[in-house]
């Protein structure tokens, strides 16, 4: 049970920042609440009585998104379902519909924010690797004197470990900005114990841009989650594939450049096998999203099992 002395619902960023900086020790910010409410249950943190909960979901400055100069800026209140329902976001962030459709379920996605997912900093978070792959930065605000001071941090520097970020006391994350990936094909791979409502054991995101003749890889973005304390970008694989001809051979050769990526302490062998398959699949699914299918769908499972 999550109880509190005060449940606050500020409507402006200044108001939210002022309440947050003045909140007693132990207070929490709450966006969708889909991480915090289950956290305050038996077997996890247990029943919680917090001094204050500051619910930022009605702060207008944190709503919506915009696209400026090739960067997409997603407000902190943006929920995962919008990656499926917004035409424009689908166009600019082609990996996100795939990520979203595997994320929780339709109902939770109406509540769960991308920013909550990032700040929660679970090694299994599905949203964070995608933002990483798109050169994401987080925008942070705090009160400095009477006015709002802002800073921004690259996602790779923001997340420091399980549950750990470089967010300071009194700060609120206001937005996430990332490259517009319009023209890329996107993919998201995820494995857990079941399909709906499942936390990832491993997840991977892939983005592929083809040369105009569709014969070579013009750009590739790959990131993975669930295999260590923080998500990782697969720089070596990305660099290898750039300029390579589009073929299974290129992809299989690229996989070999990945090296040992597993940092998790558990299920290491399983995870490294999944990584291999997921690199292949993420690239191939992103290719298919660009209109180039290397494998007929019915062969996919079989090929990735036996290679």
């Amino acid at each position: 049970m999550l109880n509190c002395d005060q449940y606050l619902m500020p409507e402006t960023l200044e108001e939210a920042l002022a309440q947050w900086v003045g909140a007693p020790e132990g207070s929490r910010l709450l966006a969708g609440g889909t991480d915090i409410l289950p956290w305050a249950r038996e077997g996890r943190a247990g029943h919680m009585h917090l001094p204050a909960i500051i619910d930022i979901s009605r702060v207008k400055e944190l709503h919506g998104y915009d696209v400026v100069d090739g960067r997409v800026r997603l407000g902190a209140n943006l929920v995962f379902q919008r990656f499926l329902t917004s035409e424009s976001l689908r166009h600019h962030l082609p990996c996100m519909p795939h990520c979203a459709v595997w994320f929780a379920d339709d109902q939770i996605r109406e509540q769960a924010t991308l920013v909550g997912n990032i700040v929660n900093a679970s090694p299994a978070a599905d949203g964070t690797p995608a933002i990483f792959a798109m050169n994401g930065t987080v925008e942070i605000a705090r009160l400095d004197g009477g006015s709002v001071a802002r800073r921004s941090v690259a996602i790779g520097d923001f997340i420091t470990g399980p549950g750990g970020t470089t967010l300071e006391a009194g700060e609120i994350l206001t937005a996430v900005a990332c490259d517009s990936m319009a023209g890329y094909g996107g993919a998201f791979e995820k494995v857990g114990q079941r399909r709906s409502l499942v936390i990832s054991v491993v997840c991977a995101v892939g983005l592929v841009k083809l040369s105009p003749d569709k014969k070579t890889f013009a750009d590739v973005r790959l990131a993975m989650g669930g295999i260590g304390p923080v998500p990782i970008r697969l720089d070596a694989v990305e660099a290898f594939l750039k300029g390579q001809p589009v073929s299974r051979k290129s992809i299989l050769a690229a996989v070999k450049t990945a090296g040992d990526l597993v940092r998790s302490r558990t299920r290491r062998e399983y995870r490294s096998e999944v990584i291999r398959g997921f690199i292949e699949r993420a690239v191939e699914d992103a290719l298919a999203d660009c209109g180039v299918a290397l494998l007929p769908p019915e062969m996919k499972e079989a090929v990735h099992v036996v290679t």
């Binding site: 049970m1 609440g33 077997g43 499926l84 339709d106 399909r195 709906s196 299989l252 019915e298």
Partner: protein, 627 residues
Amino acid sequence: MSSLDMELTVNGRAVKRPAKARMRLLDFLRDELNLTGTKEGCGAGECGTCSVFVDGKLVKSCLMPAAKANGATIETVEGLAKRGGLTYLQQAFHKTGASQCGYCIPGMVMAATGALRENPHAGLDEIKERLGGNICRCTGYSKIFEAVELARDVMNGALPVTALDGPGAGASYIGNNVRRLDAPSKVTGALKYAGDMVMPGMLHMQVLRSPVAHALIKSIDISEAEAMPGVECVITADDVPGEDGFGVFVHDQPIMARGRVRYVGEAIAAVAAVDVETAMAALGKIKVEYENLPAVFDAEAAMASGAPVLHDYAPDNIVKHIPIRKGDVEAGFADAELVVEQSYETQPVEHAYLEPEAGLAYVDHDGVVTVISPSQNITHHRHMLAKIIDRPINKVRFIMSPVGGGFGGKEDMIYQGMLALAAMKSGLPVRLVFTREESIISTAKRHPARITYKMGLKNDGRITAVEFRMISDGGAYGLSTEGVMRKAAILSCGPYDIANVKIDTHGVYTNNTPSGAFRTFGAMQAQFATESHLDICAGKLGLDPFEIRRVNMMRSGASTHTKQKLGSVSLGLALEAAEKASGWESGPSVARGGVRGDLGRAGNREPCTLGARIRTSHDVDTKEDIA
């Protein structure tokens, strides 16, 4: 404690009233507005029994602080149809028989309504995906999907409204689809399960559970908890007036731990207070002193000499040993051309019925101690409780509330005794509703089993002898273990005619969560071993798996290992049907692996993929570049 003035619209009506800060939208709807069609199956976003529309978006109300709904327009299952009516979707659920225990059904109806509102032409894959956040443990989903597709077609005019009419029983109930009488109450959320029931002056119970697996209880100090304002009573084993002990066979489990605790999660004490928070706070004030005892968590270790003993009456920790002997196994093995030995292990399994345990007890005007609960065994419970509370049987009454899924897991009188004691001690009605976590930690599981199998066979597949030994972890108390061991022994070797068998099943006490009844009652564990073993033997003999079963199957007139004469046996027909339906390619299954030709046929189950709604329809050119 802060509260919040809520103003919102619920099912078309303006609502204005305060909500406590701890309330989720789910609590506000259920506890403040008595809209109990919205259920709490898990409280953690996993099950979907709590789905409601908030400003037109379907959400899980257990994950939404009530404050978030302030000013919003809410639609619950009660508001979907005009009072007394059913929406097309609800009619379709009724028609296809989509509701069984019904506990998931209001949430399912909401999710299905949401799916068709989002996409009135959603195909089956998309419907499945959009219902992905709602769990049903009864139906296997087929009837639910059938209902959604039916409603979709009626709503789109592809089918006439009369497609929703039921066929009725006609002259006979046999061979006709008969509509369930209780379906309308389930699809509208009108049906009241125990956790939905309230009585004036009703108290709320919370239970203190053991954090240790095996310990002596040196002392329990309830004085501070009892003195708290709002607390009406605190009960412990000392409040039991009669002969304490329940169980399906052996009555070895006290209502609450009596001097000794035997598993993590066992009830130690219970508080009845004016509200759940007060009861919960009071639990924190109860002081228990434990003196740890050595514990045993493995059934075989518990059978070894020198193992910690759980119950004085069973110094060997054996709850029940069932032996069956038939023929001469030694001669059978001597006669065999192949002997295969293998061991199998199965895990404990939680029933995970969507309705967590709940009950409401009161003492009526005639002094009759009454317990309302989804008990699967009320008559037995009534007899046991009469002894425990030392009242004549006519002063004890059990009322069976609708069971929101049981699967055997609600056969045990695990909490009804506490409710009765608290109602007797406080003189007020008392309700207890388990959280999902509490249900998982404290109630029975399917028996995990370790089975060693030795089978002798002729080269043509005929089984000459079987030695079957099963060791099953019964956990800390007996519950249904005796019956489960008996059933496991009777059905151990499956429906096969075997001349020589030696069967032993052992149910063993350990300090694990008790094991109890669960669908198939012991047969599943044995069948897993038997059928796996037959496949392995078929592989070794180069036989088709159907063939080895046909060679050995019981036929009409056969008698079982426990000498039951079988008039007619339909196993041959079942094998034939399965072989045909699966398009089985005959031959030993081990030899072909991925090259067999009967995979990926129409009608085979396909792997689940998500993303039906975003799968691009543009043409993809397939390159045959498979390096």
